[in-house]
Symmetry: C2
Subunit: 307 residues, 2 copies
C-alpha cells in the first residue's frame, strides 16, 4: 500500500498532538531529532468552530513557513468538535492503514491522523490520539506483538498482532475515579487533597477489587472502612485509586509472567506497575516521546512496510 505522505530529507515534520484540553507540538528533522517543542493551553474545548486555522497559524505558523514543513496532527482535533472530522480507521490497522487514511486539511502540507474503531460483541469502541502513541511505541520498542495499556481518563487496552492494532477496549477508569472522588457520597469521607500515594492502601484497594465482582459493590468499602475507623482518612484516596485500577485489571485476560507495555505519565505508570504485579505481570514503560515517534513513522515511507 502506498503512503500519501513522504517526508523528504530536506523537510521538517511539525508533529502536533491536539487533545481535548491541551495542544502540544514538536519540530522534528527527517531522522526524528526533536529540534524544538511547544505547549499551549489551547485544547479543542477552548477553540470555537472556525477558529482552528487561526489558532494553528498563531502557534505553529512560523514552523510551517520555514522550509515548507509537513504537519501531522493526532488527537481530538480530528473529532466532531475539532478542526475537521477525520473518519475512524477500522481495526486491524497498522502504519499503512492509518497513513493511507489521513484527512488532508491542506493537501501535502497539513493532515489529521484518523482515530481507530473496533467492535466487541456488536458494540463499537473508539480511540483518537492513542493510535499514534501505540504506533510510536511499536517503532521505539521494535514490537510486533503484545498488549499495550494507555492508562488515563479513558484507559485503552490495545492488542497488537503482526505489527497491527488488532483490537482494543476502553475503560472509563480515570473518569470513574474523578466522579467518585468529587461527586459521590465518598467525597464526604475523603480528605480534600489526594496527597502522596499510600502504597499499602493502594495495594489493598487493588487486592480487594481483584477479589470483587463489581466496582458498584467494592466502592462502598471506602465508606464502611472509614465508618469503622479501619483505615486512616488520608489513605482513602490511594485505596479508592487501587479499587478502580484493580477493577480495570480484574477484567483482563493476563498470564502470570507476561509483560505489558504501559504508555503514560511516570506516576500513573507506577500505579499500574504495582497493580499488575498482583497478577504476576510486569511492565515495560514507554514515555511521552511515543507521540512524536508515531507521527514521524506515519510521515515517512517505512521500508519494512513497503514490501
Amino acid at each position: 500500500m502506498q503512503h500519501c505522505t513522504s517526508l523528504t530529507p530536506m523537510q521538517t515534520l511539525v508533529a502536533v498532538d491536539w487533545g481535548t484540553s491541551s495542544l502540544r507540538g514538536a519540530r522534528l528533522d527527517s531522522v526524528g531529532a526533536v529540534l524544538e517543542e511547544r505547549a499551549f493551553a489551547r485544547g479543542i474545548l477552548t477553540v470555537a468552530p472556525g477558529e482552528f486555522p487561526a489558532v494553528f497559524q498563531t502557534c505553529f505558523g512560523d514552523w510551517m513557513q520555514a522550509d515548507k514543513a509537513l504537519c501531522l496532527i493526532a488527537g481530538m482535533a480530528g473529532s466532531q468538535q475539532g478542526w475537521m472530522q477525520a473518519p475512524y480507521c477500522a481495526c486491524p490497522a497498522g502504519f499503512d492503514e492509518v497513513a493511507s487514511q489521513l484527512s488532508w486539511i491542506m493537501p501535502g502540507r497539513i493532515a489529521i491522523v484518523p482515530g481507530l474503531s473496533c467492535t466487541h460483541d456488536g458494540v463499537p469502541d473508539v480511540m483518537r490520539g492513542e493510535e499514534t502513541q501505540v504506533l510510536g511505541a511499536l517503532q521505539l520498542l521494535n514490537l510486533h506483538e503484545g498488549l499495550i495499556v494507555l492508562p488515563g481518563t479513558h484507559s485503552k487496552w490495545v492488542q497488537v498482532r503482526g505489527g497491527k492494532i488488532e483490537t482494543f477496549s476502553t475503560f472509563m477508569t480515570g473518569e470513574f475515579y474523578a466522579l467518585l472522588r468529587q461527586h459521590s457520597i465518598l467525597a464526604r469521607t475523603l480528605p480534600e487533597v489526594d496527597g502522596e500515594l499510600d502504597r499499602s492502601a493502594f495495594d489493598d484497594g487493588v487486592a480487594f477489587a481483584l477479589r470483587s465482582n463489581s466496582l458498584l459493590q467494592s466502592a462502598f468499602s471506602v465508606r464502611t472502612l472509614a465508618l469503622f475507623e479501619r483505615r486512616a482518612k488520608t489513605s482513602l484516596p490511594s485505596y479508592l485509586s487501587g479499587l478502580v485500577i484493580g477493577e480495570e485489571i480484574r477484567t483482563q485476560s493476563l498470564e502470570p509472567g507476561e509483560a505489558v507495555v504501559v504508555i503514560g505519565s511516570d506516576a500513573l505508570t507506577q500505579r499500574y506497575e504495582y497493580a499488575l504485579a498482583q497478577r504476576g505481570v510486569s511492565v515495560r514503560r514507554a514515555g511521552s516521546e511515543v507521540t512524536w515517534r508515531g507521527l514521524l513513522a506515519l510521515a515517512l515511507p517505512i521500508p519494512s512496510k513497503e514490501k
Copy 2:
C-alpha cells in the same frame, strides 16, 4: 430473648422513618391499622445537631401526647449525623436481635432502631433503615428464607435464613447512575430529561451488562453507540439505566426459576422485574407499607419469637 418494648393494646405506635432526605411518620393502632400518616421535607440533612428533639416535637408532638404513645424511629436518624447514634447490630439478626438493641432516647417512649452490619472478606457492610423494611416484608409475606432486594441509591441484596437477616451486600447502583448521568462525559450525549422508560433500550443495556465484565467498560458504549448513531438519543437514559442495573444483577448468584422479593417504588421494582427476567428470575413485590409493619413487629412481643 426478651423484648424491651411491648406495645399495649391501649397504646398507639408512632412509627417514624427518618431518612437522609425525608421524614415520614404513621400512627398505628396495636393491630397495625394506619390511623394517620404524615410526611415532611425534614430529612436529617436539613436538621442541625441539637435540633432533632424540637423537629420531632413539631412534627409528632401531638401524636405522642394523645395516649402516651410509643415511638420507634428507623433510618439515618440513628447515624452519626442523626439524632442519636444507634450502634449497628451484627448479622445474623432477626426480630429479637434488632428489638433488643433499640437505642432509647426517652426510655419506654422513644427509641431508634439499630442499623445492621455484616462482613464480606474482612470488609464491613452496613444498612440503616432497610433492616426495618426487610423485617416488615418477612411479616407481611410470612417469609423465613429467601433473597430480598431493596433497589435505590445504595441497593441492598439481603439473604434471609431461618427468619433472620444472615448477610447482605450494598451496591452503589443508583448513585453510579446519577454520577454518570449528571457529571460524566456521557452527560453531554444524553438528553436533558430522562423521559419515559424505553423498554427495548433498557433491556439492551441489561443484556450488554450481563455479558460484560465491568461497568468501567460497558458504560463507554453509551458514548460509542451515540457516536455511530446506533441508538436514538432519547433512548440513552433507559439504556444506561439497564447497564447499571444489569451490572448489579450480573454479580448475583441466582438460579433460573428462583423468585426474589423486591421492596421499592413501583417504577424501580418494574425495572428490576424486567432485568431479573433476563436471568430467569421472577419478582415478588413488597411495597412501602413494609416500614410501618416492621416497626410494629419490633414494638410488639411476637409469640412466634418468644419460644
